[in-house]
């Protein structure tokens, strides 16, 4: 049997960038970059997804300096800035290396300079008006048009990754789950899969089923919420109310099925704490049908409302090229025409013959992102219909003891499609304890794309553009 987990392949410091570039040229896709302390040194690791599964490469920095891969992989921009702020790595070739996680007082250390006739600044947050997570946006504006926006997140940085270090692999999952309520299942499954890959444990078909079911329930309430949020973004109260009501019904369904409205604590490593009995599954199935029926009706009203569509169309456009370059993931990427969904290749979950949703017109604007979610609601409903129908809906599965010997120099990688997009969890462990956990969520991947899509639009349209991406702050801040 092969050794479980992914080997951490060492790369000489002067070949770091060329190796990363080579992996991408061979069809690999950038997943994440993070730093880790190794004795006295700091090493940089990068994960890629390829035809042969995930690859993890590492290079030890030379007194804290590493080659930047941003010139060849722009999607790693935030990752490098974070590694710099948290681990002091200087990335050669990434200039200026602006602060991201750190919050310097000096504006010039973190914003892009804007010159020209009469540009002014609009600073919003960290506390927003209404019930919104905390984060700060710095807009550079001429008249009503956004020239550029710098995002300063990490106000909610709780140091979850660091706090998880030194914990047993089975309990570290709490840190992944509490990173974000709206993506609790996705983050936990990514974590569980990373541990299982490290331990060489393959989820049984029953375990795969419950997890898929829970993931789709999470997607359902999130997508309904996000369509409602886009309606709120243009002040279309009836649409917002209708979709909020639908979302609430899914929360109640979650409560009835799992005992928690946000499905907290339903995912564990190599077992399933969620117990779903057959009668509850049958009831849930009927309820999903009625929710879907009402959602379709509400959606038609949104779709055929001329003034709503007038506000959605052509706003906050993200081109396919930009989505590729910036490494956009999830519904936002698919709305720009990128046919990628981590569900189409999801070992350990049950998505037979899954096809990513695609629109006839992938314009990458607000309308496309909202339309795509509506399409995905239908797909999720169909999946739930299947998952809740077959009697194999499992009861709690007894923990299967896996080979707990973890080979040194290996890491576990879990990849899950969350409601916002591909979420990656990379774990390193020694003697059964976590030495490094890195969680790169779909939200984290997409914030730079949001900033890019906002440029050139009207400032009053920003809330709408923001809501069409509907990214979590807590997922990114960790």
């Amino acid at each position: 049997m092969s050794v479980p987990g992914s080997a951490i392949q060492l790369v000489p410091a002067d070949q770091w960038r060329s190796t990363c570039e080579g992996l991408v040229d061979e069809g690999g896709r950038f997943l994440a970059l993070y730093a880790v302390r190794e004795n006295e040194d700091v090493a940089v690791r990068a994960a890629f997804d390829g035809p042969q599964g995930p690859t993890l490469i590492s290079c030890t920095t030379e007194s804290g300096v590493a080659e930047s891969i941003v010139p060849v992989i722009p999607a790693a921009g935030w990752d490098e800035r974070e590694a710099h702020d948290a681990y002091g790595v200087d990335f050669e070739g990434h200039r200026p290396l602006r602060a991201l996680l750190a919050h310097p007082d000096d504006l010039s250390e973190w914003v892009v300079p804007v010159h020209g006739h009469d540009p002014y600044q609009v600073a919003v947050g960290p506390i927003h008006a209404g019930v919104i997570e905390s984060g700060h946006f710095r807009f550079r504006v001429v008249g009503e048009s956004i020239l550029h926006v710098d995002l300063r997140l990490f106000y909610k940085h709780r140091g979850l990754e660091r706090a998880a270090e030194g914990r047993p692999l089975s309990t570290g999952i709490a840190f992944a789950q509490r990173a974000c309520a709206a993506c609790a299942v996705s983050n936990s499954v990514a974590y569980a899969q990373a541990v299982e890959s490290l331990q060489g444990y393959r989820p049984s078909p029953r375990l795969a089923r419950v997890r898929t079911l829970l993931l789709e329930l999470e997607r359902l309430y999130n997508h309904l919420n996000d369509i409602g949020a886009a309606c709120a973004g243009i002040g279309f109260a009836p649409g917002n109310m209708a979709f909020s009501a639908l979302k609430e019904r899914v929360h109640r369904l979650n409560q009835a099925l799992s005992g928690h409205r946000f499905l907290f604590e339903t995912i564990a490593v190599s077992r399933s704490p969620a117990t779903i009995d057959r009668a509850a599954a049958a009831e849930a199935r009927a309820e999903v049908e009625t929710i879907a029926e009402d959602a379709r009706r509400a959606w038609r009203e949104v779709l055929f409302n001329a003034s709503v569509q007038d506000r959605f169309l052509g706003v906050g456009r993200l081109s396919l090229d930009d989505a590729l370059r910036l490494g956009t993931v999830g519904p936002a990427a698919r709305a720009s025409g990128l046919r990628r969904d981590a569900r189409s290749d999801a070992p350990g979950l049950e998505y037979p013959g899954f096809e990513p949703a695609s629109l006839r017109h992938s314009d990458g604007d607000v309308a496309a992102r909202v339309n795509l979610r509506a399409l995905e609601v239908d797909a999720t409903v169909a999946l739930l219909h299947e998952l809740l129908a077959r009697p194999a809906v499992p009861l709690a599965e007894p923990s299967a003891e896996a080979a707990l010997e973890i080979a040194p120099g290996r890491a576990g990688i879990g990849v899950v499609e969350s409601p916002r997009g591909e979420t990656v969890c990379v774990l390193e462990a020694a003697e059964g304890l976590l030495t490094r956990m890195h969680l790169r969520t779909g939200s984290y991947a997409n914030w730079p794309s949001l900033a890019h899509a906002a440029a050139g639009n009207l400032l009053p349209d920003f809330p709408l553009i923001n809501k069409s991406f509907e990214l979590c702050y807590s997922c990114s801040d960790r």
Binding site: E133, R158, A181, A182, S244, S474
Partner: protein
């Protein structure tokens, strides 16, 4: 749109929302001081169509200067401690502080201690605690109404000034 409005009417009939049966109002300023977003979702639901906290005179204010109560969710991170204090200091007296969720109450300690400033109570005087992870919308509405009851009849000067 008319279909949607009709749906809402139907929903209201189905839910059978009881009339408030009390008078008064409370404008709440919400500050997320480092939550996982669960408390925000439930707070949103509390003001959404099923629970409709607005009918009890509860509202979410867009500025601390318009607020009677500060509603804080999340374990306060070191980075949110100062904006939180600024929000509190911007409020007119008399003012109330409500801690929302187990994190804000200091019941969960998820995070690295160097990044956390501590539960809300260690930074601001808390009047009402709403436990839960996240607290359900009914529990939030109850907590807010308790603050509203406390505020009724309270006069400036009867409370300590926390500046």
């Amino acid at each position: 749109m008319f279909v949607l409005l009709r749906e809402l009417q139907r929903l209201r009939r189905q839910i059978g929302l009881r009339p408030p049966g009390r008078s008064g109002s409370l404008a709440v300023r919400h500050v997320d001081a480092g939550s996982c977003n669960g408390c925000e979702h439930e707070l949103g639901a509390c003001f959404g169509p099923h629970y409709d906290a607005g009918r009890f005179g509860l509202s979410v204010a867009a500025s601390p200067r318009h607020a009677d109560a500060l509603l804080v969710s999340g374990t306060v991170t070191t980075r949110m401690a100062s904006p939180l204090r600024t929000a509190y200091e911007s409020m007119p007296e008399p003012r109330w502080v409500i801690a929302l969720g187990d994190c804000a109450l200091g019941l969960t300690f998820l995070g690295d201690e160097t990044e956390l400033a501590g539960p809300v109570e260690t930074l601001l005087p808390v009047d009402v605690f709403i436990p839960g992870c996240p607290p359900q919308p009914e529990a939030i509405a109850k907590g807010l109404l308790e603050a509203m009851d406390q505020s009724r009849g309270a006069k400036l000067g009867r409370r300590r000034l926390h500046l």
